[in-house]
């Protein structure tokens, strides 16, 4: 399964704030791809309908990303490079990981491996 490339960085900066609020809404929709965030926003990836949303999340180094399982079926969050691995997340369970180093972190659900996502850690360019 291919994961889409993150969208080109969206500027100006004020747009990020506008995008932050609808992250949860975006997450449940199809086509939720990359999203821009500011350093203080909670970085949430929703798991709904066997899909990680947004499928690609871009954050600054030092950001803690939290996955929340909204399905009636348990899922896991496992880094392909084995950097992190959640316990089994039942409905409404959460898992957090702090990304210190810039890079691309592909992950998947070890129970339903067709579920894949990516966290892109990159320094703000401004």
């Amino acid at each position: 399964m291919s994961t889409p490339h993150p969208l080109p960085r969206r500027s100006p900066r004020w747009l990020a704030a506008a995008v932050t609020v609808p992250i949860l809404t975006l997450a449940t929709g199809q086509g939720a791809l990359a999203s821009e965030r500011t350093g203080t926003d909670p970085a949430i990836i929703r798991i709904d309908n066997f899909t990680f949303g947004p499928e690609t999340l871009t954050v600054a180094p030092g950001t803690t990303v939290t996955w929340v399982n909204g399905d009636d079926i348990p899922h896991t969050v496992v880094a392909q490079n084995k950097l992190f691995r959640s316990k089994t997340l039942d409905t409404d369970d959460r898992y957090s990981f702090t990304f210190e180093t810039a890079g691309e972190y592909a992950y998947f659900c070890s129970l339903h491996p067709h579920m894949t996502g990516k966290v892109v850690v990159t320094k703000p360019t401004d």
């Binding site: 309908n49 009636d72 992950y107 129970l111 491996p113 067709h114």
Partner: protein
């Protein structure tokens, strides 16, 4: 009988080969006997003296998800109990039961204990393979193997023979790869090749595993990446029956001498491929639930291909 290979396996002139031919032919005679041709008695009697396998029935049960309590079925233990009650009422007691995985919902000790206790009430031997929901303990399957997989190899694969039929339990829910489907792995496939190497092609084979061994719907992960290697390994056999679970609905396919069958769950139904945004539990009106849950009986009659598979819902 329509498979020439099973009638004339390599080395058919050997005594063993000849007996195998007779075994296949014997069933026809058995039916003739039922039709009132007493002279036919001779062959079945002769075969009986050689320890000929008699027709028998075994049962498949799947995806009991003990511990599941979400709206699609708040009482998965209750519906498993109903399935067990149904099994106990069968006029013909099955020789044994095969459980094709997802015994528990979250691999908790209590869930395994409850499942074990409920299933014991069937009063017949049980054989298991794990589903992905059975390997969620911290040691990734230790709990399952200690309870349900004693004496098995690797992550829980094994084979056994019952009344002339070779049964193979495979594990395709371990070490799944990102973006992929179910996975058997090289070790298990090598073992499988060795396991069937000595078998005559006329031996009926039943293979069971949790995730479908053929590709049902890859968009939802319903298939096994290296499942084709199993089928390649079994192609020479005259009768192969593949029993799976995981998708909580009946789907059947016949390909040459191979019959594929997936069983209903005893816990909750899942949508038909592609008919919903996700394969998650399907909520149906309370009255309809039990028509979508059920058990599967398999009648093994030598020489009758494919094996007769009968699905029975819990109600309706």
């Amino acid at each position: 009988m329509h498979n020439p290979e099973s009638l004339h396996p390599p080395g058919a002139l050997s005594r063993r080969g000849a007996l195998e031919c007779m075994t296949w032919a014997g069933t026809g005679l058995l039916w003739s006997l039922g039709g009132g041709l007493p002279r036919a008695l001779a062959l079945p009697r002769a075969l009986a003296a050689e320890g000929s396998p008699a027709p028998f029935t075994f049962l498949q049960i799947s995806d009991s998800h003990v511990g599941f309590n979400k709206p699609a079925n708040p009482d998965a233990s209750g519906t498993l109990r109903e399935a067990v009650a149904q099994i106990r009422q069968l006029p013909e007691k099955p020789a044994f039961i095969i459980h094709t995985g997802d015994i528990s919902h979250l691999s908790k000790d209590q869930e395994f204990d409850d499942a074990d206790q409920i299933l014991r009430d069937t009063g017949v031997p049980l054989f298991f393979v794990p589903g992905e929901h059975d390997l969620l303990d911290d040691e990734q399957g230790r709990s399952y193997r200690d309870r349900f997989g004693r004496g098995t190899r690797g992550a829980g694969w094994y084979s056994f023979d019952q009344q002339g039929v070779h049964f193979i339990g495979l594990v395709n829910v371990v070490d799944l790869k990102a973006g992929g489907l179910g996975n058997l792995g090289a070790d298990q496939l090598e073992w499988l090749e060795r396991d069937v190497a000595g078998l005559s092609s006329s031996t009926p084979v039943v293979v069971f595993a949790h995730i479908p061994l053929w590709t049902v719907y890859p968009e939802w992960g319903w298939g096994t990446q290296d499942g084709a290697r199993v089928l390649a390994c079994l192609r020479r056999f005259g009768s192969v029956t593949v029993l799976n679970g995981h998708i909580h609905q009946i789907i059947q396919k016949v390909e040459g001498s191979v019959t594929f069958h997936t069983a209903r769950s005893t816990a909750f139904p899942q949508p038909a491929p592609g008919t919903a945004p996700s394969p998650g539990p399907m909520k149906v009106p309370a009255g309809a639930l039990r028509t979508l849950l059920g058990i599967t009986r398999v009648n093994v009659i030598r020489g009758s291909e494919p094996l007769a598979i009968i699905d029975t819902p819990l109600a309706g």
